[in-house]
Symmetry: C2
Subunit: 304 residues, 2 copies
């Protein structure tokens, strides 16, 4: 089968729904592309669209999305809580199923070069697609945001884009294009309202404080008037093949038990790779000799 | 997306691998069809091929398979342990993903009529595709097997086929064509070699002795020289939407505990619908608000 790729562009517009609807329409009009999700945040003044298809179709849809965003979103007027450098701020490509991350790296670089030329837009390659090592982290690419880039582009050689002109696009600013592994947003709600326990557990498991590799975690208190209050361990698993759902759940269960509480229930936010969810099946049943290829639809997707 | 359908024809040949290879080749040559599995049993002198695709492609491949089987397998020469009425003995169509069982019923009837005409082959509709209620059970259709049909066809009006002539095909005999839900072959191995416990549990959970709906189960002793001996509860879940993996595992765990033992591990044989496996994920994590559509590849398969 042709390699399936997911694309998750972020746009600097979260207050005018009609603008995001137009961009989503431009993406969905491309044959062979499926729009999986889109969401909008008023405080951040930012939207995220998720779509998928094969490389050729995804590039066509992403190009259409950039074109519409440059027409409809004017960075000279933009304010919002979230860091950003352009109308379409960041465009990551993510492998699906048996697609390799390297294919997304190649695609991000080709796509970046192409839109830089087509729209005269400065393009920074980040994540796995970064060419300069100091651009792997998105936070470094976005340092000082749109306003700093406006002053430094063409002056500070360190801010020279990977593709495109050394000046901002008049309306659209600049864009970061990259490749990354799929990310799983997964929350564990504890049978307690003591948020200090969730914070301690989050601290113990997250990579940045010496915990489990490829785990980001924080402790928060969920307050929903119609429900009991739960202390929540809220996580991003940024490389589930290194640390997957079973490993974090076992560790949180152990730490919760030590703290005198237990897991009440869990939540999966948005989409996750099927194979990452089937790891839980195999773990829970102690399945011997199991392969995700035994899931009929996954097997068919691989072979077709 | 066009409806995906699985087809699992059984052939009365398990001793000449080259014959089955030719049939598999005939199936695999049809564009848009994926051969998922094939297996051969010498004692039963019988083979099973599993393939999938959309309705049109599956019909084309199944027709090619019948044609080859009629050329290559001569029922007048066949002996074997398994009940059978023809060279291609039984052809069930099974819905995949969001395909409805009714589509498979329609397809089985159209396909049955078509091959009856094309090959002058008597066709009996069974399972959900049965028109006569006394033909729902395959065992009833196959009563007395090939040898009895040879005597009764054209004489006993009860054996009149649903389509085709009231006489056996000179080489191929007759065929049963049907539709059924996907079947999950799932085994639970207990931490004991006491097969009496597995037999008691199997008796308690199987539908035929008043247990759980749509569960077939038996207790067997696994003897593998390189492993400990396990008493096994071996199951077919013939309608996982009525009784799925989590329900049988919880019940077996409870019964095993009552019998002073526990589940050691489980085995999934062959393929299973992804949604049936994700039920285990949701159950094990106590996932709130989960939908199988959150599995990326399933969601894409649905929308494309």
């Amino acid at each position: 089968m042709p390699s399936l790729i997911e694309c998750v562009p972020n746009f600097s517009e979260g207050r005018r729904p009609e603008v995001i609807e137009e961009i989503v329409r431009a993406i969905g009009q491309i044959d062979g592309v499926t729009v999986l999700d889109h969401s909008r945040d008023v405080t951040h003044n930012r939207s995220v669209v998720t779509f998928a298809g094969n490389a050729e179709h995804v590039v066509r849809a992403a190009t259409a999305a950039v074109g519409r965003a440059l027409e409809l979103i004017d960075m000279t007027q933009h304010t919002g809580a979230h860091p950003r450098i352009g109308s379409v701020d960041v465009i990551p490509f993510v492998p699906i199923g048996s697609t390799r991350l390297e294919e997304c790296v190649d695609l991000a670089r080709r796509f970046g070069e192409q839109i830089a030329k087509l729209f005269e837009l400065p393009v920074y390659l980040y994540g796995e697609a970064a060419i300069r090592p100091d651009r792997r982290r998105l936070a470094d690419v976005r340092r000082g945001q749109y306003e700093a880039l406006k002053l430094e582009l063409g002056v500070n050689p360190d801010r020279e884009p990977d593709f495109g002109p050394a000046r901002l696009h008049p309306r659209g600013g600049a864009v970061a294009v990259g490749a990354r592994k799929p990310l799983i947003a997964f929350n564990v709600n504890l049978a307690t309202a003591d948020v200090a326990i969730a914070k301690r557990i989050a601290h113990a498991i997250r990579e940045s404080s010496g915990g489990m590799p490829a785990v980001q975690a924080m402790g928060v208190l969920l307050e929903n008037p119609r429900e009991p209050r739960y202390a929540q361990v809220s996580m991003n698993l940024v490389d589930w093949e290194r640390t997957g759902i079973p490993a974090v759940v076992h560790e949180i269960r152990r730490l919760a038990h030590d703290a005198g509480t237990e897991i009440d229930h869990c939540e999966l936010i948005g989409l996750a790779p099927t194979a990452a969810l089937l790891e839980v099946t195999a773990d829970a049943l102690g399945l011997r000799g199991f392969s995700p290829d035994q899931a009929l639809e996954l097997r068919l997707a691989r072979d077709r």
